[in-house]
Each structure stands twice: as C-alpha cells, then as structure tokens.
C-alpha cells in the first residue's frame, strides 16, 4: 500500500468509527469493510485519544477539586477516581457518535420480542424501550466501575487495550457470524473470513502484551470469547450478525476488558 493510500484508508476507517471531521471518500463504509483486519489499529488510536482525555480530565479535576476543598470539604479522593472514569467513558461514546451504544440499545430493545420479524423491525425504529436502556446502562456502568478501580499508572494501557480488544471482538464476530442481511453486513463478514484477518489478532496481541504484559494475553482471550458469544446472542436475537450486533459487541468488550484488567491488578 502506498503511503497516500494508507493515509486515505486510515482516514476512512476513522471516519467510520468516530465523529472526527477528517473528510472521507465517498465509499468509506465499503473501505472499512475491506480493511476490517485493521480495526485494532483504529482501536489503538481511539484508545490513545481516550487515555489522553482521561489524564487531562484527571489533571484538571485534581486542581479544581483541590481549589474547591480549600473552602468546603469534598470527598476529593473519591471524586478524583469517579469523575475521570465517567467522563472518559462518555468521551468514548460521544467520539463514536453513539453508534455502538445505539447498537447495544437496539439489541436490548429487541430481546424477548415475539418473532424474528418483530425483533428486526425493533432495530430500525428510533424508539428506546426500558430493556434497551437498562442493558446499555448496565454495560457502560461496568466499564465505569473498571476505570474507577484502575490506578493512574495502569489506566493508560487499560484504556488503549480495551479499545483494541473491542475492535478485535468486532473482527471475531464477523469471522464466526452469519449475516442477517445479504447486503452490507455480508460484505463485512465476507471480508473478515479471509486469512488476512489474522493480522488483526497479531496486531491486537502485540499492543496488548506490550502495554499490559501477561494480562494482555488474558484480555485477548476475553475479547475472542466475548466475540464468539456475542455472535451467538446476535444469532438468537436477530438471526445473525448486523451492524447493531457488532456495535453492541464493541461496548460489551470494552467494559469487560476494563473490569477484567482492574480485577487482575487488584488481586
């Protein structure tokens, strides 16, 4: 790949996953499908932005809370753990344009509805049921708890690796899953089933081990397991893997990895 093409491809991938206004080619969605094996690279970049935001917010909050506690008592230690965690999760959701979060809500909306047609129709309505809201809140809450318990030093690696693992799980679900629809979804899934998808696992593994050591290997296992599991969930709810199911997988795996890393480090 020429450097110009590489930059264009990366820009298209970022345009797909984030709201960053970089400009994009007309067929950026199809490009994203073609380069599905580079998802973890985009994940690393998004994770880096998330980590930067985490430290920036922590730094600013420490001054702000220090200043406030000159006048009134505040549980500043607690708030210094909680607020950056909430803000960083929120930042990542907003950065993605809430698209993956929306997939999680749609999955929750559809769970338990009568037949497959109804469940599929529920996914393209703009409404939110209490089930969708509850599922989404629980999943994001788990992520916040994970970030809350991470110490300042390990948050950097954890945030980046969580994002990488989330994108890797999207690759996994595309490798193992069947499309719900023979249109766009099958383009993603067919691309994922090529051998070059192994690149995604190598890259994600490298980043994970580099930043988290042995824990990184555990993270990759969590990502792969959840990717496969979410494939089953998608199959039973929507009859296969759709954009919503892939998005939901991103959210579930990010949260799971954050709590996993926090748990391993605490133990």
């Amino acid at each position: 790949m020429s450097p110009v093409k590489a930059i264009k491809t990366f820009r298209d991938l970022l345009s797909f996953f984030t709201i960053i206004p970089l400009g994009k080619t007309e067929d950026f969605v199809l490009t994203t499908a073609e380069y599905i094996y580079l998802f973890p690279v985009v994940g690393a970049f998004i994770g880096l932005l998330g980590a930067a935001y985490y430290y920036a917010s922590r730094f600013l909050l420490s001054y702000l809370l220090g200043f406030v506690s000159l006048f009134v008592w505040t549980p500043s230690g607690f708030l210094l753990m909680l607020l950056p965690a909430v803000m960083t999760l929120a930042f990542l959701l907003v950065l993605s344009g809430l698209q993956h979060f929306d997939g999680l809500v749609d999955l929750g909306n559809a769970v338990g509805l009568g037949n497959l047609e109804e469940r599929r129709a529920a996914a393209h309505k703009w409404t939110v049921s209490y089930k969708g809201a509850v599922l989404a809140i629980i999943v994001e809450f788990v992520g916040i708890v994970g970030l809350f318990f991470l110490d300042v030093g390990s948050a950097f690696g954890a945030i980046i690796v969580a994002e990488v693992a989330a994108k890797l799980a999207m690759v996994t679900i595309a490798v193992v899953g069947k499309p719900t629809h023979k249109g766009l979804g099958s383009i993603f899934l067919e691309n994922a089933k090529r051998t070059r998808s192994l690149v995604a696992y190598v890259l994600a593994g490298l980043v994970a081990v580099l930043l988290l050591g042995l824990t990184g290997i555990g993270v990759i296992l969590v990502s792969v397991t959840l990717g496969v599991l979410m494939g089953q969930v998608g199959k039973s709810v929507f009859g296969g893997v759709s954009g919503d199911v892939m998005g939901a997988t991103n959210e579930v795996v990010r949260s799971a990895v954050l709590i996993f890393v926090a748990g391993v480090l605490l133990l």
Binding site: D27, V29, G247
Partner: protein, 205 residues
C-alpha cells in the same frame, strides 16, 4: 417458479434534484443500481433480467451496456407506462418481477419470498406495500401510495405482474405483501431518505 425480472432505471429522479442520474447515485459509495442488480442476480427464482432505461438516464444505460447487461429502452413517460412498454418490447407475456432501482437494501432472498407469495396467491398480480406510518416514523418520504382492501399504503415499487395481462392493469385482481422489512422499506426518493437509509443500513444490515 422462475420468473424474469425488469429493473426500472429510466426515471428522471426529479425529487432528488441531483447532479447525477438517480440509479447512479452512490449509496454507501456504491451506485443504487448496483445494489439492486446484485440482489436480482442472487435471487434463485429469477431466470434473467433486463434493465429498463430511457432517454432520462443515458449514463445509466451506457453503464449497463458496458457491463454487458441486457437493456430495454423506453420512452421514459412514467414508471407504469415504461413498465408496460418494456413488457411488450421484451414479449414477456407471463409473470414478470418488477424491481425499482432505488431499493439498496433489497436482497435475492426477499425477492424469492415475493415470487413464492405470488405463486401461492394464484392471482395475476402482486404488489409489495409498506405501511405509511412505518415510513413516517422513520421520517422517510411518502410519495407514491396505493390502496389495498380499503387501506392506503406506501408503494415499494416491487411487483409481479402477469405480462399477458399488463394492458388491463387496474382491472386485475392483485395480491399484496404488506411488510416493514428493511429490504423494501428503504426506498430512496429524496436526499433525506438517502441519509436516513444509509444510517439504517449500517445498523440493521
């Protein structure tokens, strides 16, 4: 049951106010007509297909010819007139599947379902409708509507008609499929439809 298909790609697309012809309009980067041609090609019960063009869509016609597709040129008077003209020109005096070029979420599997329903109905025509409220709720435009058993629906443009009776349309007993399925729900008539449909396609397809 196997039927031939006509892909209707000769409209002006005047509601879109486009610089390009509507069939060539990129949907997620791929021209609308390519999504539809792929769907028709993958339908097991479609024996073959023609693309119906007109003077309104010369570039679409040129593209189809370049790709070796069979093209029927009509006068481009309107969807229905062009359809009748194409059926007669190709001498398709038997059941024919009619597919518009503005349904990017269409699949071969869906078309097979339509053909099965037609075969079961035993009638000379079948139309696929979408409830008007479903499109309105998604803020999609509702332009063409038709009545079936006293209720008005949004027309998807997907029909099967017995070509032998194409001239007496209106008097033909018509079966209907009424569905919210994304395959026919995402009919692109306006720029806003396009944006909404791209979003839904990314989510649910």
């Amino acid at each position: 049951m196997k039927v031939p298909a006509l892909i209707m790609a000769g409209g002006k697309g005047k509601r879109m106010e486009l610089a390009v012809e509507k069939p060539l309009l990129p949907f997620l980067g791929k021209p609308l007509i390519d999504w539809v041609v792929d769907a028709v090609k993958s339908a097991r019960q479609v024996s073959g297909f023609y693309v119906v063009t007109s003077g309104n869509a010369p570039e679409t016609e040129a593209k189809c010819l370049r790709e070796g597709l069979r093209v029927i040129r009509t006068d481009g008077v309107g969807y229905h007139d062009d359809l009748v003209q194409a059926v007669l020109k190709a001498e398709l005096l038997r059941p024919v599947l009619i597919v518009p070029c503005d349904l990017p979420a269409l699949t071969g599997k869906f078309l097979d379902k339509v053909i099965d329903a037609f075969a079961e109905s035993g009638k000379d025509a079948l139309a696929v409708f979408v409830p008007i409220e479903t499109r309105e709720k998604l803020e999609l435009s509702v332009s063409s509507t038709d009545e079936h058993k006293g209720v008005w629906y949004a027309v998807s443009g997907v029909n099967i008609i017995n070509g032998a009776r194409v001239r007496d349309e209106g008097k033909i007993d018509t079966a209907a499929i009424i569905t919210e399925d994304v395959e026919v729900l995402l009919n692109i008539n306006t720029q806003k439809d396009l944006a909404i449909a791209e979003k839904i396609m990314r989510k649910t397809c």
